[in-house]
Symmetry: C2
Subunit: 343 residues, 2 copies
Amino acid sequence: MEGFISGNDGEIKGLKDLKASLGDVDDFLNNNNAPSSSHDDDSKSPETTPPSAPLPPAAATTTTTTTSSASASSSDLSYFKAPTFIPDLISPAVSFRSLCRSSTHTGPTNGKCPGFLQCNLVVLRKEDAFDFLLFCQRNSKSCPIVDVCENGSFNPTGITKSSDLRTDLPAYNVYSNGKLVQGNLSDVRSLWPTDGVAFLLGCSFTFDHVLIANRISARHIEMKRNVSMYRTNLKCREAGRFKGNVVVTMRPVKGGDVAKVVTLSCKYPEAHGAPIHIGSPEDLGITDLSKPDWGDPVEVREGEVPVFHACGVTSQEVIMSSGVSFAITHSPGCMFVSDKIID
Amino acid sequence: MEGFISGNDGEIKGLKDLKASLGDVDDFLNNNNAPSSSHDDDSKSPETTPPSAPLPPAAATTTTTTTSSASASSSDLSYFKAPTFIPDLISPAVSFRSLCRSSTHTGPTNGKCPGFLQCNLVVLRKEDAFDFLLFCQRNSKSCPIVDVCENGSFNPTGITKSSDLRTDLPAYNVYSNGKLVQGNLSDVRSLWPTDGVAFLLGCSFTFDHVLIANRISARHIEMKRNVSMYRTNLKCREAGRFKGNVVVTMRPVKGGDVAKVVTLSCKYPEAHGAPIHIGSPEDLGITDLSKPDWGDPVEVREGEVPVFHACGVTSQEVIMSSGVSFAITHSPGCMFVSDKIID
């Protein structure tokens, strides 16, 4: 069954397992394919709004920054390898974004919408856009670009049929002069710069359900926690003003499963691909696994090895290290769920 | 044996076949590993200068646009996954660039330095750099970025230990307001903009020796001609002012070898990867294979199927279609040979 035709890799991508796209990981494990819009909200945010009082749909949102490209949908796309978004197949992602838009879901997205590409968000002023795009190109293991919006647009037409990046994530951070000035906002419509350029970078949550389907534990999902993230001592390749260190996620994996995690995750280069380090956290400058720099600590059990994947929060570490004048990002772990079906 | 550690894909890359890096394809086929600096020049350009009168080495070239990054060599590189260029392994590429620098080699590079990544060159003014970088990111099948120099620099430190993009290609084109105004220049030092941004895009010549090693004919190399290139009716995804159609190369392949060409070339995504079309040139809007838009025609024999790979000359088609104010590029088929060893 054909789900999504990718823009760049020349392969027609199918849908390996339709079940995997029709619910969250609990559903997936239980073979219970209830629509994702009926999921319980596991967020603890005080900003949660009842589902009965949603915001208007993104397409009807009033804004002064709408551009022609902002309203483009896949029906307008006629370029070579333009994606095709089939409504029946993308409905779990569309429904989940609707829950985020209404602030019904305001927490981490690990385990949500398995089978869909999840993304980090970075929004910068136009003046910083070239250097950041080059930074991502040079550090694609940490910052794999999956789409970039036209200047001023908030609808990434390469990975969704229709969405609004200003409302469709569970939670946002705002940085000013390299400092986090606001965290866990549920709506950034009033802050979005008129010349803002939005970058979407793949996230390793994208392949968690593949690990689970192969009987490899995803501890952060089991424990209903955010994944553990750490700043490392590995320097990124600089680009213009952008510099900083690689951030990693950590998953505890049984020794007998480590090779399987490598061979499975390397199939998803848009979601960081293979791990960059296995075992010996001290080599990365990580002194205490129980004290992550972002996210929650998770239990590392006897016989388990810490497996480190590059993480898109590298972009936020770099925004801070580089003293960037203004940036909007997702809140770590609270990703943008796209319509792009992975296989 | 470890040759080159790639910057982005997280894999330590080895050197599959050292022989393949030590000569040109004729040597490779004949198991004669003479240093490439002794190769006969097959160029017909009147600009050819005797090897006895070379230009000074790139590092000693006098220039007013040198920046600190322009003189960076791999010994300065300390970032995560920074490449390591081992002098004994990269010497064929270094020698070949020296032949280009002295205008001893001024023709196509197909068959030269097998085992090394060959690249298209595009140099633009800073004002066009973001849109073009985004264009490449959106059309990575045609324009796979392998390195981008710092503003004003002409030394791509991600793929060479030391080089000068203004002299180290066999031949250059210059475009003004979307029109080709000068072709087959052997040196563009006097034309390089002080704010120029140089982009290197992978080329399918990179994997020709792999096809040959698998007993698949590379007709353009057999016939000592440039590859055939055609403008297609496939639209690229636009980015800012950049728009245009996909350009393809064509290789005639026996029916029994077509699948092998797919499975072999797909291993080289930085060099366009798998073909984008096989057979039926009319589907691409190509009416006469014997009249390529760039390069030379090659014989298509009974029982052979035309196999089309995306081509980096897409970037030159796009420069023309978009009316870009100023650009320097390689002359089609006359590529930049990098120090990056593929495996």
